[in-house]
């Protein structure tokens, strides 16, 4: 397995008597090139798990290995995309996309070329010289995606990346991420609380529940890309996810014959 999560727990010591167990005994294996969605309500530990995988935090118990090596600190091979984009406001679109490339020790010319290529990939060619504040939320998130992909990472972590976008922009972005994933063959681990989003994007949906944060179950999504949100198969999987969260109304209609 490419990523191995074994019995991982994370406890935040807020005070001696108040230990928040954000994540409790998580086990998960992820293959290279998989698109995984971590789905659950707030407090289910999905962002905690992502932070642990990305190396921003360390597990209190258990172990996480990527490609056989334990995760100790963040790496340029595993890039995270944040909900609030994390763009540097004083840099232009181009400058932001170049940020990661600058620490790879490339020539100035190569840096520029690669950055421009990825800016084109996300369709922002004409906005190269704009500052982030001049762009819409969706466009800003595209910049963040271009910046992450430009350094050619093995894994992309996405932490509710479309949480701040309106519904239509969100769907459009989901489509693009799905396309990019097919094209670039990255392993993507995507945190969301949106059921439709997870069914649209994931190969496997990891369903998590809160207090304490646990992995409840894993649902396979054996649908071909590009997925149709209105197809009966899509709706069937969506139904299953709803059922997992016990949000599906029991059939209580009485039938008279």
């Amino acid at each position: 397995m490419y990523i191995e999560i074994k019995n991982v727990s994370k406890i935040y010591n807020q005070s001696p008597n108040n230990n928040q167990k954000a994540l409790d005994g998580a086990n998960l294996s992820i293959e290279k090139g998989e698109f995984i969605c971590l789905l659950g309500p707030s407090g289910c530990g999905k962002t905690t798990l992502l932070n642990l995988l990305a190396g921003f935090e360390k597990p209190s118990e258990g172990s996480i290995t990527i490609d056989g090596k334990p995760v100790e600190k963040p790496s340029i091979k595993h890039v995270t995309i944040f909900q609030n984009y994390g763009l540097l406001p004083w840099r232009t679109v181009q400058g932001n996309v170049q940020l990661g490339l600058e620490s790879l020790g490339l020539d100035k010319k190569d840096i520029k070329e690669i950055a421009d290529e990825y800016i084109e990939l996300v369709g922002l060619g004409e906005f190269k010289k704009h500052h982030p504040y001049q762009l819409s939320g969706g466009m800003q998130q595209r910049v963040a995606i271009a910046r992450a992909l430009a350094v050619d990472p093995d894994i992309v972590f996405m932490d509710e990346p479309f949480g701040a976008l309106d519904a239509l922009t969100r769907m459009k972005m989901q489509e693009e991420v799905s396309n990019i994933w097919q094209k670039k063959k990255k392993t993507i681990i995507f945190v969301t609380h949106d059921i439709d989003e997870s069914v649209y994007l994931a190969d496997r949906i990891v369903i998590m529940t809160a207090y304490p944060g646990r992995i409840k179950s894993i649902i396979n999504v054996p649908l071909a890309r590009k997925r149709d949100r209105t197809h009966p198969d899509f709706l069937r999987i969506r139904d299953r996810v709803f059922a997992e969260f016990e949000m599906k109304q029991k059939d209580t209609i009485e039938y008279y014959l």
Binding site: S75, W90, G123, E176
Partner: protein
């Protein structure tokens, strides 16, 4: 990915929307500036006129000796005199040179130390109490030591300007480092930036708009103490001009000197105000976020 309706929506629609808001925004700003341009000189003129009228009235009442309370006309001719014989220009030049030396050294030291102390919080917790004790001490209080250590001449004034400007720069830098968005630091870590790069690629630019406010405050306080410094320890400069005029019992020149100090200070303030606007623009801060 490059075709289809969604992209059109994202690209074209949003662009036009953006342009629209940009247009209305710039329209509003233009409007404000225009109104300001018409209103401000008129108000300034009214204010000046009032001041001169009250001043002239008191002089005309003949209650005070002219050598103790010069008339507006005396002061005006004094100003002419200072400009004509070139002393004013020479004094301003010396003062400005001292000011620039003291102020820029303070900026460099304040920012570098501030970045380091702001980053290593534990260290700042140790230094902070010392700074809090030293900060309220007027730079002039250091004057005896300054003369003993640095002698007389240009250096005492420069050191006093340095002390006056240093604390505001240091404190604003330390506090702005603490306010840097954690996401930026996560991004920096993620992309493998080295510690030095984190300082000059992330922390300094992220903190800079806030540091600029400190620079503005420091400029004001440094200009105040430039004159004080020159009054106690120099043989040239705007402060000395005033002392010299007093020693010659020329109250008209004292007041003329005061007016020139005020005007120079105002011009410096405007200059740094323009720098702040430039920073706002180039640092990607929305104009309306800065209350324009």
């Amino acid at each position: 990915m490059k075709t289809d309706l969604g992209r059109l929506c994202m690209g074209t629609l949003r662009k036009t929307n953006m342009e629209k808001t940009a247009k209305t925004n710039s329209g509003k700003i233009k409007n404000n500036i225009n109104m300001g341009k018409i209103r401000k000189p008129v108000n300034t003129f009214i204010g000046l006129l009032l001041l001169i009228a009250v001043w002239g009235g008191i002089v005309l009442s003949n209650k005070y000796d002219r050598s103790l309370f010069p008339s507006p006309i005396d002061v005006l001719s004094g100003m002419k005199e200072l400009i004509a014989d070139g002393t004013l220009f020479a004094h301003i030049q010396t003062s400005m040179l001292r000011f620039i030396l003291g102020y820029s050294t303070a900026i460099v030291c304040g920012i570098i130390l501030g970045l380091i102390l702001g980053w290593f919080r534990k260290l700042w917790e140790i230094i902070d109490p010392i700074v809090q004790v030293l900060r309220p001490v007027s730079p002039i209080a250091w004057f005896p030591f300054i003369v003993l250590w640095f002698g007389i001449g240009d250096i005492p004034a420069i050191v006093i300007i340095f002390i006056a400007a240093f604390y505001p720069v240091l404190l604003s830098t330390v506090s702005s480092v603490g306010k840097v968005d954690q996401t930026y630091l996560k991004v920096a870590k993620n992309f493998g930036l080295k510690q030095a790069q984190v300082f000059y690629k992330i922390i300094f630019p992220a903190a800079f708009p806030h540091i600029a406010t400190g620079l503005h405050i420091a400029l004001g306080s440094a200009w105040v103490f430039l004159v004080a410094g020159e009054m106690v320890g120099a043989q040239s400069g705007l402060g000395f001009l005033i002392i010299d005029a007093r020693n010659n019992l020329r109250s008209d020149l004292v007041l003329a000197g005061i007016i020139f100090i005020g005007i120079s200070g105002l011009l410096l303030d405007k200059a740094i105000g323009m720098l702040e606007k430039w920073i706002g623009k180039n640092w990607g801060i929305l104009p309306n976020e800065r209350g324009i």
